[in-house]
């Protein structure tokens, strides 16, 4: 998701009471970790929450109500596969009543015509369906199960019922050279938006980094294809390209700044400033089972940890770019250096950049994926 942007401050209206960190705009509600797919770049944590650990319907309704009161405008109903929750329609309906712009983030598996119709009745506006590849064999290898036919049928139902349709694709070595075909497939499906997201290496993707890392030649060729396609499809389909940050000189911005616009509620109620934050083992995450969302937003130590710039070290502390990139990604700094207060190692100004450059050599290694598996507890 893209951060919401505050263009200008409030006008003459009565100003609501200020709150610590400003008001968040976006909530990612990870309703479950359960998922029929096993993608080796899954953004869920390595330790998955089982069905018995998930929040109840009433818990989620309370969280959504509190999120709206806190100022959240954008709601992502995500997972895992959110369609495995039988109360999804109830939650989507509750969200609609609160006035969110809601997005269902789904693999498409389980999104039958009937289920899509029921979701349409809730007032849900936007559905994002992931695809793995245009090549069926590779797609199935990534998903860990055959899913291509079901996804196409789900996308067709979504279009016919008048939802806004986004297609999301994670890009990596095995599909990056087919990005042109992927764009054409999304256009054929009548997608309104296409998110082409180069793999971000946390958790599962970091475990599989050697198998996922593309070559620089692949990245450059793909970028040229995407640049052309953005202009060609602009009127019908918005194309969002998430850069492969390892190949950049400057780090990607921490989503609007840590604890400033975004929050994630995990299936068990733990509340995080970013889905990647789960990998920062030095943080303690408070749960909506014990606290209100506003208390967590304002008081939770995990949200306060990297808010503002007091935590920054050099070269970030005195760097003019800190207002733009907020020191880059805390989750990546922790994952690669063991200390989240270090600059994002992608930055060319930190000696830790050597860690990134070494990983770029992985494109020469053979591809062996490690899959998530509930049977083994992860």
């Amino acid at each position: 998701m893209k951060p919401a942007r505050a263009v200008e401050s409030n006008g003459n209206a009565p100003a609501p009471a200020p709150i610590a960190g400003g008001r968040p705009t976006t909530l990612l509600a990870e309703l479950t970790h359960r998922c029929p797919l096993r993608c080796p770049y899954c953004s869920n944590p390595l330790e998955l929450v089982g069905a018995e650990g998930e929040l109840s319907t009433d818990d989620w309704k309370r969280v959504l109500t509190q999120a709206r009161e806190l100022g959240v405008l954008q709601l992502g109903l995500s997972g895992g596969e959110p369609l495995v929750r039988k109360d999804l329609e109830q939650l989507a309906s509750h969200a609609r009543g609160l006035g969110f712009y809601s997005t269902l983030v789904t693999s498409g598996l389980g999104l039958t015509r009937k289920r899509a119709e029921r979701l349409r009745e809730t007032g849900l506006e936007h559905i994002q369906i992931s695809i793995q590849d245009t090549d069926t064999q590779t797609a199935d290898r990534i998903a860990g199960v055959p899913a291509v036919t079901q996804k196409a049928a789900a996308a067709a139902a979504v279009r016919e019922l008048g939802f806004v349709l986004s297609v999301n694709v994670v890009l990596h070595r095995a599909n990056l050279h087919r990005v042109g075909e992927i764009i054409e497939l999304a256009a054929d499906w009548g997608a309104d938006r296409l998110e082409l997201a180069n793999t971000q290496y946390y958790g599962w993707a970091l475990e599989n980094r050697t198998a996922l890392m593309p070559s620089r030649a692949q990245v450059e060729a793909a970028s040229a294809v995407v640049d052309d396609a953005i202009a060609v499809h602009r009127d019908r389909m918005q194309i969002i390209y998430v850069l492969p940050d390892y190949f950049e000189e400057s780090p990607k911005a921490c989503y609007g700044g840590w604890g400033s616009v975004y929050l994630v509620v995990a299936p068990d109620g733990r509340t995080l400033p970013c889905h990647g934050a789960t990998h920062i083992t030095t943080l303690k995450f408070d749960t909506v089972r014990e606290h209100s969302l506003s208390w967590i937003w304002e008081q939770s130590s995990a949200f306060q940890a990297y808010r503002g710039d007091d935590w920054m070290r050099e070269p970030c502390r005195t760097c003019p770019q800190k207002a733009v990139d907020f020191g880059g990604c805390r989750c990546q700094a922790f994952a690669l250096t063991g200390d989240a207060t270090n600059p994002d190692p992608v930055c060319g100004l930190t000696p830790h950049r050597a860690l990134i450059d070494a990983a770029l050599q992985d494109a020469d290694e053979p591809i062996h994926y490690q899959y998530r598996d509930f049977a083994t507890g992860r």
């Binding site: 893209k2 942007r5 200008e8 409030n10 609501p16 806190l70 405008l73 997005t103 986004s166």
Partner: protein
């Protein structure tokens, strides 16, 4: 494709205006994003109806603000055009 005073601006078809009762503020909502609007910005966007030119929008606001706002209107809409939230009606939305 720079916006001119004769352009007819329209909201991107996936964006819509809304009012946030929590912030007591108008917002532009679109898939997975939001732009918080001030009252002036909202007044301008409300007039982007696919019929009015930039000049006509400025004319309509002249009375409300008691001054010539044409440069402000063009600058504001140009800024939103750069983010693709506002597009020219002559092209497909």
């Amino acid at each position: 494709m720079a916006l001119t005073s004769e352009s007819i601006p329209v909201l991107w078809r996936l964006a819509r205006l809304d009012f946030d009762a929590v912030r007591q503020q108008h917002v532009l909502l679109y898939p997975e994003g939001a732009v918080l609007l001030n009252d002036t910005g909202h007044a301008i966007l409300e007039l982007c109806d696919g019929a009015r030119t930039v000049t006509a929008i400025a004319e309509a606001l002249k009375e409300k603000y008691q001054r010539d706002v044409s440069a402000d209107v063009l600058a504001y809409l140009t800024q939103l055009t750069e983010g693709d939230f506002v597009r020219e009606a002559s092209t497909s939305r």
